[in-house]
């Protein structure tokens, strides 16, 4: 009985493999995308690409870390063509784990600025998010604000709201401070921030803004992207919270405001490399970039694309031109320093 059932199992397996293979051969116009982004806007953008190019997109959505782990385990059998993440650090990690390959395209190189892509063209930024200070317009005079470094000043004691150190955007900000100021200064900075906490870090970026509205603190460090979501929320309380604060872009007098990207890279064993590059070119095209800006409140990387009305209302700003590869390289260091100063 055991033998018979084994034979049945193997037959089923063989039949299914056969099917899968022939399916792949018949229809080579596919593209498999591993993505950490799960926005409804993306779905529309992908669909438009499918209609335009006739290439079908298979989407696997999970956390970037899980996707990287998955690609690593799958090895050269991995169906992934592209890895799309919401921060540069994960792409750097994927590159260092030998999971990506160079995608040389004149179109991409000409559109994506040098500091927003890998020097060997292993990955490219698609959209930018700025990590800014937002403040309670009734309690804070913006002339008091200047830099990230200034937030450790005693005058902000018990007034500063920020989420936990487990969050990738805080880790990237810390990495940029290490890159710009060195490890020791960065550690002191983190300790100074902890010292000024209005409360122990909890919740997400939106919760920090809501806490300002509730008077738990007076200023917060958050991503512009979430503020956009908050102001356009369907929940009236969230809208109220979003409108109660004003954006301040720090470090305008020196290196510029810290930015992060949502970025993409071609998988090392991509079965459909050409399609993958076509897709990246499409994503950085003017129309798609404007869509990202208007529907998802992300800053475009394509200089020709205009930002949305909301993003414009916050004003233009000087961004930190630090090459984003640095953020990935220093990410772990950042986490270790956070732990050492007990930033929860």
């Amino acid at each position: 009985m055991l033998r018979r059932s084994l034979i049945v199992v193997f037959t089923i397996m063989l039949i299914s493999c056969g099917n899968d293979k022939s399916e792949i051969e018949e229809n080579n116009q596919v593209l498999t995308l591993y993505t950490h982004r799960h926005y409804d806007t993306d779905k529309e953008i992908f669909k438009a690409f499918e209609e335009k190019s006739g290439i079908k997109i298979n989407v696997v959505k999970a956390n970037a870390d899980e996707l990287i782990q998955k690609m690593e385990s799958e090895g050269d059998q991995s169906p992934a063509d592209l890895l799309l993440t919401v921060d540069a650090g994960r792409l750097v990690r994927a590159k260092s784990k030998n999971l990506l390959q160079a995608a040389n395209s004149d179109i991409i190189s000409s559109i994506v600025p040098a500091h927003l892509r890998d020097q060997d063209n292993f990955w490219f930024g698609l959209t930018k998010r700025a990590r800014v200070i937002v403040y309670d317009k009734n309690k804070i005079d913006p002339s008091e604000l200047s830099t990230y470094e200034d937030l450790t000043n005693d005058k902000w004691k018990n007034k500063l709201l920020i989420r936990s150190s487990g969050n990738i955007y805080n880790q990237s900000l810390m990495a940029s401070i290490i890159a710009n100021n060195g490890e020791e200064v960065a550690k002191d900075w983190a300790a100074g921030i902890v010292n000024n906490f209005a409360r122990t870090p909890k919740g997400n970026d939106r919760d920090q803004v809501k806490s300002i509205l509730a008077g738990e603190g007076e200023l917060a460090i958050i991503n512009t992207y979430y503020l956009g979501k908050l102001i356009n929320s369907l929940d009236p309380i969230e809208v109220e919270a979003g409108k109660a604060v004003v954006v301040f872009f720090p470090n305008q007098e020196d290196r510029g405001t810290h930015i992060n990207i949502s970025g993409i890279g071609v998988a090392k064993f991509a079965p459909n490399k050409e399609n993958a590059i076509k897709f990246i070119e499409y994503l950085i095209s003017k129309e798609v970039q404007e869509k990202f800006a208007s529907a998802n409140y992300e800053y475009p990387v394509n200089a020709e694309a205009s930002s949305s009305e909301l993003l414009n209302s916050w004003g233009t700003f000087k961004e930190d031109k630090l090459n984003l590869s640095k953020l990935g390289e220093l990410n772990k260091k950042a986490v270790i320093l956070f732990d050492e100063v007990k930033w929860q």
Partner: protein
């Protein structure tokens, strides 16, 4: 359990072999993880020990104690009221007390912040009456304990209620005749008799608490499970996260050992009722106040969270709702039904094959196969990807077959992962009932010349029917709510409600998550109602 070599050949039968083979096949991820433990400690291990380990241990213990005490109180007290007293809508209330299980605990966590956080629904309500309160802080360990308790107490309620119902009326009557007060009867007779069920329920609560990721992360509490993720993702040290998982497993096994010890100590020879023939007293006069005991858990665990979800659903309905969601409902249900079916089947095979095995050692193997319940989903995911990868490489190298698409393009691996993760849920609840059945019935059947299979079909299966159905339902609910494994192992074209809800919540769009969450909850509610209806009809 000394190895008896002399009789090995005589006592070895095919069932021993099947038990071992099935168990080992299911337990592959355990071995992958154990194998990784031998790779030495990860580079960040010392860092973790210095800054976090104590935190993880203390927080996890505090959570276990807190939820343990609250779940015990809510679960046993509500079970007591519904079995001892009769009152209007009692049947409905008995059923509503199960309902908190239908909501994933991380959704409950979010909805409580929506109710009680800054500008929360309940806060605004209080403000309308001139109570100038800004918020009720939920996002701390007490809040987490409360939220987890509200969503997990039905595990205690379910078993305890079944136990209370099965007491012959004579016990209660004789206790009263001996002059015991009601309270004394509850504490010195009813509770101790129900202790196996209570402890079994608490064990499930503890495992869920240890495995919780979403709620603890949102509330900013460092636990083993959040630590495992953090070590893996932020500290980039998968080796240390496997170490942490191993510690978590040790903690879980420790709890399991205590449970075994308790259960072993207490066994009562009582002839229990199989059906509910309990005489109930009418709840009259001041005693109506007892109803608070059943209303609090229903409100806290089900009505309040669902109320908040409904408010969000109304706000986001136009943007989020579309008919494609129903195809997601169908996909989720099909996957969960299939998984539940297979798990019940495998649980039955393992239980009976190991019973039929004369050798004693193979009977130990199913325990290994049920270890998945104590291992965090993400770690199982890693274990499974690594093991299936070895299989793919094997096929590629030796047989020149590319099976990668079979593994990553279909639900085979995902369902295997569910089986490993949830086998214990099905196995334990059915096994407990087979133990209750005892061996005499099937031995009698053997002596009447009936073979094992026919005995199983004619005797065990009908007698286990109810426990098989409840095992099926429990696995179905767990699978439908499952998140980390589904995220990492699902094929592209499969979508589940839990994943959909998570995608919004992950992006800080909690309100938008409410519609998939509500669909998930209603699916479970409908299933439970159908089964209850069917049960009451056949009884």
């Amino acid at each position: 359990m000394r190895f008896d070599l002399k009789h090995f050949k005589r006592d070895l039968n095919q069932w021993s072999l099947y038990t071992v083979a099935i168990s080992l096949f299911i337990a592959i991820p355990v071995f992958t993880i154990i194998f990784h433990l031998f790779n030495g400690k990860g580079e960040m291990w010392d860092h973790i020990v210095t800054y976090f380990l104590l935190d993880y241990v203390l927080n996890s213990i505090a959570l276990l104690f807190g939820t343990g005490i609250i779940c015990f109180s809510l679960g046993t007290a509500s079970a007591w009221i519904v079995t001892k007293y009769d009152f209007p809508y009692r049947k409905l209330i008995e059923w509503l007390l199960f309902m908190p299980l239908a909501i994933p605990s991380y959704i409950v966590a979010y909805s409580y912040v929506g109710l009680l956080g800054n500008g929360g629904t309940f806060i605004r309500f209080l403000n309308m009456f001139g109570i100038p309160i800004k918020k009720i802080e939920m996002m701390n360990i007490y809040g987490l304990i409360a939220v987890l308790s509200f969503s997990l107490f039905p595990y205690v309620y379910a078993g305890t209620r079944a136990m209370f119902k099965s007491y012959p009326n004579s016990i209660r009557e004789s206790a009263y005749l001996l002059g015991a007060s009601e309270i004394r009867y509850f504490f010195s007779v009813a509770l101790p008799l129900a202790s196996p069920a209570i402890i079994g329920g608490l064990f499930l609560v503890f495992m869920e608490v240890l495995n919780d990721y979403g709620a603890a992360k949102y509330y900013g509490i460092n636990t083993f499970t959040t630590g495992i993720f953090r070590t893996w993702t932020a500290l980039e040290d998968i080796q240390s996260s496997i170490y942490l998982s191993a510690l978590l497993v040790v903690l879980a096994l420790f709890i399991l050992a205590i449970v075994k010890w308790f259960r072993g100590k207490k066994s009562y020879a009582l002839k229990f009722n199989n059906e509910d023939k309990t005489k109930r007293y009418n709840l009259v006069g001041y005693k109506k106040i007892y109803l608070i005991v059943v209303f609090i858990p229903i409100l806290a665990g089900f009505v309040f969270p669902v109320f908040q979800l409904l408010i969000w659903a109304v706000q986001t309905f136009e943007v989020i709702f579309n008919y494609a969601l129903f195809s997601i409902v169908i996909q989720s249900v099909l996957v969960a039904l299939f998984t539940a079916l297979i798990i019940v089947l495998i649980a039955l095979l393992l239980i009976y094959f190991s019973r039929w095995s004369i050798l004693k050692t193979p009977r130990f193997f199913p325990k290994i196969a049920t270890l998945g319940y104590v291992i965090p989903g993400a770690i199982i995911g890693i274990g499974i990807i690594r093991s299936s990868n070895s299989i793919i490489v094997f096929f590629d190298t030796y047989l020149d077959l590319k099976v990668g698409y079979l593994f990553y393009g279909s639900s085979v691996v995902l369902i295997y992962a569910y089986i490993f993760r949830f086998l214990a849920v099905g196995y334990n609840s059915i096994e407990a009932n087979t133990l209750k059945l005892g061996k005499h019935l099937e031995q009698t059947s053997y002596l009447l010349g009936i073979d094992k299979f026919v005995t199983f079909v004619k005797i065990d299966l009908p007698l286990l029917r109810n426990s098989i159905i409840s095992a099926f339902v429990l696995v179905f609910i767990d699978t439908l709510k499952e998140l980390p494994l589904t995220l990492i192992l699902k094929p592209y074209d499969l979508n589940t409600l839990a994943v959909k809800a998570y995608e919004y919540a992950e992006d800080e769009r909690v309100a938008e998550a409410s519609i998939p969450a509500l669909l998930l909850i209603s699916t479970i509610v409908i299933l439970i109602t159908l089964i209850n209806y069917k049960k009451s009809k056949t009884n």
